[in-house]
């Protein structure tokens, strides 16, 4: 299994590497188009704020490469948000893989960021199949993707929103599977087993 984590600047990707290590797969960090295109699986992690992350993707041409990928791709947290059409964070245009605009939680009604373990429902196979009842996953975010046709899992924080998105070979999780204990490990294992 050739697993590549897209490297587009400083960030905390150690936890993702360790999570796959625990599953017996060594992830490889790369910013090279040739290595990313030929990987069996690609992880698109989240780094900092949407605006600066998107500029870094543009500088390296990764913004054009990622939407063209054919193998299973998993965007995590900000990674997932950047795969959307647009983000209200720094008024940033995204990669447009998912047809939804990322908006901010209502700070007058909610504690922001949402931080902690929230449970998922309306889960879409195959990435989220066979999970235990009320699967809890770790969320840390201030912006979210509303429900849309590509919603693959739902969570509630003030409103029901997309805890995960799916289109063709592209998956995104708002939560951090690498920090979500057994449930997260199961999701990552299922990502490795995807046949698409």
């Amino acid at each position: 299994m050739n697993l590549v984590i897209i490297d587009y600047g400083a960030g905390n990707i150690q936890s993702i590497i360790h999570a796959f290590d625990r599953l017996g797969v060594r992830a490889h960090l790369s910013k090279k188009a040739s290595e990313i295109s030929t990987a069996d699986r690609v992880i698109f992690p989240g780094v900092g704020a949407a605006g600066s992350a998107m500029s870094q993707l543009k500088e390296t041409g990764l913004d054009l490469l990622i939407p063209q990928l054919k193998q299973p791709v998993l965007g995590i947290c900000l990674g997932m948000q950047l795969m959307c059409r647009h983000s209200a964070e720094n008024n940033t245009d995204g990669l447009g893989i998912f047809d939804v605009d990322v908006v901010e939680f209502d700070k007058t009604q909610l504690k922001v960021p949402q931080m902690g373990w929230n449970s998922l429902f309306d889960l879409k196979a195959p990435l989220f199949q066979h999970l235990p009842q009320d699967p809890y996953v770790y969320m840390v975010h201030s912006f979210y993707a509303p429900l849309c046709d590509q919603t693959a899992a739902v969570a509630t924080y003030g409103t029901n929103y997309s805890a995960a998105l799916h289109r063709d070979n592209f998956w995104g999780t708002q939560f951090h599977p690498e920090k979500s204990s057994r449930v997260g490990a199961q999701i990552l294992q299922q990502f490795l087993s995807l046949t698409t």
Binding site: Q14, D21, K111
Partner: protein
């Protein structure tokens, strides 16, 4: 802001956070786990807590010398290899570069206390560089003539700072979370400082972690209901096995608290 709204419209669970004091890379204060071969090994202890259902962990470096910081950075890497839940590292952090190393090695959040009071701009810098979500501001406070005064250096140095004013400033500067320890309650095992907790939780729009005073499961329940805390931190009741985490979580769930099982 009505904090009742927070409860009504989310399934977000309340968090249980064991705190490990670290000195020269080893846990201190004594840990009494029957099934741990080496109770001083923070990695083994962390793995044990993660297995038991702890929602997060906090590692507090109580030596915080230059050498100890290097030890801490490598410890963070080992912890991050071993556990799959989030963890926070605190103690002796003074700069963006201190934090960079810890996050790079796999810490999810860092906690700053005295250094934030001495240099409040550090909060802005860290929030700017790494995002608010990984900046926890810890405050130790004590009631003096019915006013809550902030204390520094593990509670040893009193200041004239008011708890609620400082907490507000920390949140405004970009803290993503507040860890409030009542020095009056810490070690008492008589329960958390519920009134001030509730005050903080209603005043600020960031999550509040309650610390200091846990003795029995009811104290955790009170911290969530009356104290309106988002998370509770405790050390000795966990380390000495007085309150096993699975039992605590089961108790809280039966009391109607949203808890990750």
């Amino acid at each position: 802001m009505n904090s009742q709204n927070f409860q009504a419209k989310t399934m977000l669970s309340k968090r249980i956070i064991p705190c490990l004091d670290i000195k020269n890379g080893r846990t201190v204060k004594g840990v009494h786990f029957q099934d741990l071969k080496d109770a001083g090994d923070p990695v083994a202890l962390a793995a044990q807590y993660a297995e038991q259902g702890a929602d997060e962990l906090v590692f507090l470096d109580i030596t915080a010398t230059e050498d100890a910081r290097e030890t801490m950075a490598s410890l963070v890497l080992e912890v991050s290899k071993a556990i799959d839940i989030p963890f926070t590292v605190g103690g002796g952090i003074r700069s963006v570069s201190d934090v960079e190393k810890l996050l790079k090695n796999g810490a999810d959040k860092i906690s700053i206390n005295s250094s934030a009071v001495r240099n409040p701009a550090l909060i802005d810098e860290l929030a700017q560089a790494f995002g608010s979500q990984c900046v926890v501001v810890a405050i130790d406070a004590k009631q003096i003539n019915s006013l809550w005064k902030v204390h520094l250096v593990g509670g040893k140095v009193p200041t004239e700072l008011d708890l609620f004013e400082w907490a507000q400033e920390a949140a405004d500067r970009g803290a993503g979370e507040l860890l409030f320890t009542s020095m009056d309650h810490d070690g008492s095992k008589q329960g958390y400082a519920l009134e001030s907790l509730a005050h903080l939780s209603e005043q600020l729009h960031i999550p509040i972690i309650a610390s200091g005073g846990a003795g029995v499961p009811k104290h955790f329940l009170d911290a969530f209901t009356l104290g309106k805390a988002d998370a509770v931190l405790a050390a000795s009741v966990f380390h000495f096995g007085e309150i096993p985490i699975p039992n605590l979580k089961m108790y809280l769930a039966t009391q109607g608290i949203a808890i990750r099982k």
